[in-house]
Symmetry: C2
Subunit: 217 residues, 2 copies
């Protein structure tokens, strides 16, 4: 199914998938939209619409939807029924953490190679993933054939690395560097900004403490 999903649907649908997989792991076979909505604190009508969008199979009266079918339908809608290969550039602290993280495969992503400019890291493996010299990215990507590039370099190098990746044939960039990346429009870029997220949390906490201090003065 080749549907274009909205940002909000792309936020909710992976949540259904995560929940359904948890049920499946507990040997539950059927679930109703009502149950999904309740467990995930979502509006039931919204869940019904989303599920109708991703799956054409009807529910069984008094039982609900078949969970295994629903999981397959969601994976197919998200485009993660086939695993996407990815490479990662920047084997620092964050890069190493992501190379060691085993949860990406649940969302159809497999990191098959890493790159760094630090010659002391090149040739090592982390969690079974080989670290290559970033200067050889062109050559290595010809062999590895990964459409996705994960960027975990410092912000001042991020765009330079993105340009290298695009030149080497990368089609989509998952950017963890806290900066904007400018590449040609046909390259897909999504950003995950942990620093901004954490700054928001710290700032709100700071304001809360200031307010409490003032109230106690």
């Amino acid at each position: 199914m080749s549907k274009v999903l909205t940002t909000n649907q792309l936020r909710r649908i992976p949540r259904y998938l995560s929940y359904l997989r948890t049920l499946s792991a507990s040997n539950v076979s059927y679930v109703s939209c009502q149950q999904i909505a309740k467990s995930l604190s979502l509006n039931e009508e919204q869940v019904r619409k989303d599920i109708a969008l991703v799956s054409k199979v009807n529910g069984v009266p008094n039982k609900g939807r078949n969970i295994e079918i629903l999981i397959k339908d969601i994976e197919s809608t998200l485009g993660i029924d086939n695993v996407n290969n990815a490479i990662l550039v920047g084997v620092g602290s964050l890069g190493t953490a992501l190379l060691n993280y085993k949860g990406f495969l649940n969302y159809g992503l497999q990191i098959i190679g890493a790159f760094d400019k630090d010659i002391n890291l090149v040739g090592k493996t982390i969690n079974g993933i080989m670290v290559y010299d970033i200067n050889e990215v062109d050559l290595v990507l010809k062999k590895l054939k990964a459409p996705i590039g994960i960027i975990t370099v410092p912000s001042n190098n991020a765009n330079e690395v993105a340009n290298l990746l695009v030149k080497a044939g990368i089609e989509a960039i998952w950017n963890f560097a806290p900066t904007q990346i400018n590449v040609s429009d046909d390259v897909i870029v999504t950003n995950i900004d942990m620093a901004a997220n954490l700054a928001t949390l710290s700032h709100k906490l700071y304001l809360k403490h200031r307010k409490i201090e003032k109230e106690n003065m």
Copy 2:
């Protein structure tokens, strides 16, 4: 300075900080707003306004702003000039990756304890951080005194864990579980949804490949 920053300011200002720290590490002493804007691909006028908001110290003609002062002013504005202690609940693959990540301290966050329900993990240390029994969170938090709780449990347990943390005195929750968390309004919650982010990337890539297939038919 107790300013309330907007979401967009909270997205940009940590980027300045990251960039300024990189310059500082390279022994650069001064930077202009023009340079910051250019390096981060941002609008110069916007950068000027943001910098004026966080720092009252004027630039030196032909040199720009003193980088060390600017870094201190930004840290103070964000509320990360003092380190915030945090605890983490859910020592699975993502939790372990975050416990091993050394970058949080750059944004004023220090994880000082971890919790899990798995008795085989309790008593172990990861990157020097002790894992405690989640059933003892009340008791342990009385000693640890951390205002921030990081949640990395599966989505179906996330709200239950959030309730436990709030009951034990946690003031702010950084939620990595792909689900909504409902707690009382005086608790600060920010979400980072890696699954939704990755699903967006995979879905766009999938649509792109479908389009190319159709064009070649």
